[in-house]
Amino acid sequence: MARRIVLDLDLCCGCRSCEAACKVAFKGESRIRHGDIESVAYLPLACKHCKEALCLSSCPVEAITRDEKTGLVIRSSFKCIGCKSCALACPFGVIDAPLVRHISQKCNLCRDREQGPRCVAACSSGALQFLEEEEIKKLEIGARMVSKDAFVRRR
């Protein structure tokens, strides 16, 4: 079953541990970024590995492919020519446009680490979680942001 990174906005404290963890692991290329809606919320932006990935279809050299087993959208750094098409195509803005080493960077859910993504492990507030799709459906993640009641999620 595919597992994905989920963000619980209610918990995020904006410490950017996730970004630091990613940056250190991938030698200065942070593949998770942050947003800051001032006075409302902080949001780490991670690749959602979309079912219909626009970055995948926009890539002119087929550097971005889908791993059939896990459903991950993966970019090959050997094939990438650094044209930034994927960065422009991504509706969530999670592919970094400034090109480090002239290729685009993209989250691969830390395939090299058995225990799961580093950003989730590092997260100091527990806002980032690595969950099965079924578990995600059960949770009311980020309900506080919508309902404006701090206790909705913890009924």
């Binding site: 541990s17 970004e19 630091a20 692991a25 225990q115 492990a121 590092a122 100091s124 527990g126």
Partner: protein, 519 residues
């Protein structure tokens, strides 16, 4: 030790703040590879940006590995001559101790000074948090479990930015019961304040008055509400609610140049904690076990030309404080430090992570086991002294009583806040650590920015009495009018702040600042 393929993860204690998180450092054939997040630890593998970046610091390009004398590489034995010269006139020598020194090493330094009759020993760790060691109760230290028990928690400063590791416990505690009351006291809107039941946004720099009021100190002849911007009754009510609650906790963090008279903030907290019999959880990056002398005294001796040599053990001094460069220019400086800087006599010093010994953390004493091999050439205090033929056992301990004059301190605060000009304050944000992950910015209120005519992202010139630099601007409503905030995490920014030596602790204070944009 966790073996995985060809790489090995060594479990160690994060040295970059006093919270005491455990982490793994991964080595492979080519050296340090990265950080591993170990689940079976008190921090459940979670780390803040500083913890994740610890490998960047171990492999820092300026890491000092060979002794340097006046810019040239030298042998360790060469340094023996320097030490011989110095020890002939102990009255002309000052010994200073910065961060990144274990308790055993502190004792060894005291031992060394006693043997050679050196009387001038001071701490050069100038962050106000250095005074928080008084709140570490070795028998029953406050811990994360105390958060869960509490009904009311008073937080001084922004703990999420100082120790993000606390955020999970604090947010969960706040939202498990509607009765839980979180009081946050700070001079700018911070992360913790978004979760607070009561957020007392005090006028910049005046936290000390709030803390003294909470502690029950009489403050006659002071227009409390005018100076602090917080109604007196509100503070009194919180004080009463805290004292009458069954379980409560005070969490305190105080960044560099964030408030006037931080020692008074801590004094008020001590009074409140004593009166209400509640624990204090101090959040700090580093504290000394021994209360060394104040650096103010040594500074006076330097000004009187009585001191010729300065030996510093530790990480950052004098590299981190360019404002002292004029006064230190006449001295011969021997600095055992981790990073290379200037043309002093520099001795490569091991980081805490590379040593064995004891360090003080927010939750009591913890021991290091030296499983990380030190960078080639880096040595600890014992090894450095051993090369000079000086043997120490490291069993000395001196605790100095800190004299705090509340009345004098309040007078000084009243004097400071009379100046109406724009003031530069310090704030702590962990991802600005040493400028490794992010470069500092200048946070400014939209009204102040409008007056000067600058937009978010503009790079502006900043000048204070102490120095000048350039920083990009971030315009935000989080910052009050009349004050600008920056992160003193690099020497250039730290060098902007003024210091005052009138109290027993050398204080870096919010500083008057000129900001302009070049045409």
């Amino acid at each position: 030790m966790v073996k995985k393929g060809v790489s090995v993860a060594i479990k160690t204690l994060c040295p970059f703040c006093g919270f005491g998180c455990e982490l793994g450092i991964v080595f492979d054939d080519f050296g340090i590879k990265g950080v591993e997040y170990l689940k079976d630890t008190p921090n459940q593998g979670r780390l803040c940006p500083r913890g994740s970046a610890s490998v960047l610091y171990l492999n820092h390009p300026k890491r000092l590995c060979v002794p340097v004398v006046d810019g040239k590489y030298q042998d360790w034995k060469f340094i023996r001559k320097e030490f011989k010269n110095i020890l002939q006139g102990p009255d002309t020598v000052a010994v200073t101790v910065d961060r990144n020194v274990t308790i055993e090493e502190e004792s060894a330094i005291l031992d060394f000074c006693e043997k050679f009759k050196i009387k001038n020993i001071a701490s050069t760790y100038f962050e106000p948090e250095a005074l928080l060691n008084r709140f570490i109760d070795e028998k029953a230290p406050a811990g994360l479990e105390d958060i869960e028990k509490s009904e009311i928690i008073i937080v001084f400063g922004d703990v999420f930015n100082y120790a993000p590791m606390i955020s999970k416990n604090l947010i969960n505690w706040k939202f498990t019961d509607r009765k839980h009351r979180l009081v946050v006291i700070d001079s700018l809107t911070n992360h913790t304040s978004y979760f607070a039941t009561d957020f007392l946004m005090v006028k910049p720099g005046t936290e000390a008055l709030i803390s003294l009021k909470l502690g029950g100190e009489n403050l006659p002849n002071i227009k409390f509400s005018d100076i602090t911007g917080v109604p007196e009754e509100v503070v009194e009510n919180i004080g009463k609610a805290f004292s009458s609650s069954q379980d409560g906790l005070i969490i305190v963090s105080m960044p560099f140049a964030h408030s006037y008279e931080p020692q008074l903030v801590f004094e008020g907290i001590r009074m409140l904690s004593g009166k209400s019999k509640k624990k204090v959880l101090p959040i700090f990056e580093f504290v000394h076990n021994n209360n060394f002398q104040s650096f103010s005294k040594i500074l006076t001796l330097i000004r009187e030309n009585k001191i010729k040599y300065l030996i510093n053990f530790g990480e950052q001094f004098p590299f981190y404080y360019p404002q002292f460069s004029k006064e230190l220019s006449g001295l011969k400086i021997l600095a055992a430090s981790t990073l290379r800087f200037r043309d002093y006599v520099q001795l490569p010093f091991a980081l805490n992570i590379e040593k064995s010994g004891t360090i003080l953390t927010s939750t009591g004493k913890k021991s290091l086991n030296a499983e990380i091999p030190p960078a080639s050439g880096a040595k600890n205090v014992f090894e450095i002294l051993d090369i000079q033929g000086i043997k120490t056992d490291g069993t000395k301990s001196v605790i100095r009583e800190l004299k705090i004059d509340i009345k004098e301190g309040i007078k000084r605060i009243e004097k400071y806040i009379q100046d109406k000009g724009l003031k530069l304050f310090g704030e702590k944000i962990s991802f600005y650590y040493l400028g490794l992950l992010e470069k500092p910015v200048l946070k400014m209120n939209p009204i102040d920015a409008g007056e000067i005519g600058i937009k978010s992202g503009d790079v502006v010139n900043i000048e204070t009495k102490m120095g000048k630099t350039k920083l990009p601007v971030k315009i935000t409503n989080e910052v009050p009018q009349g004050a600008v905030f920056t992160q003193p995490e690099t020497p250039e920014v730290r060098g902007l702040f003024e210091y005052q030596t009138s109290s027993e602790f050398l204080n870096f204070i919010p500083t008057e600042v000129k900001i302009w944009q070049e045409e």
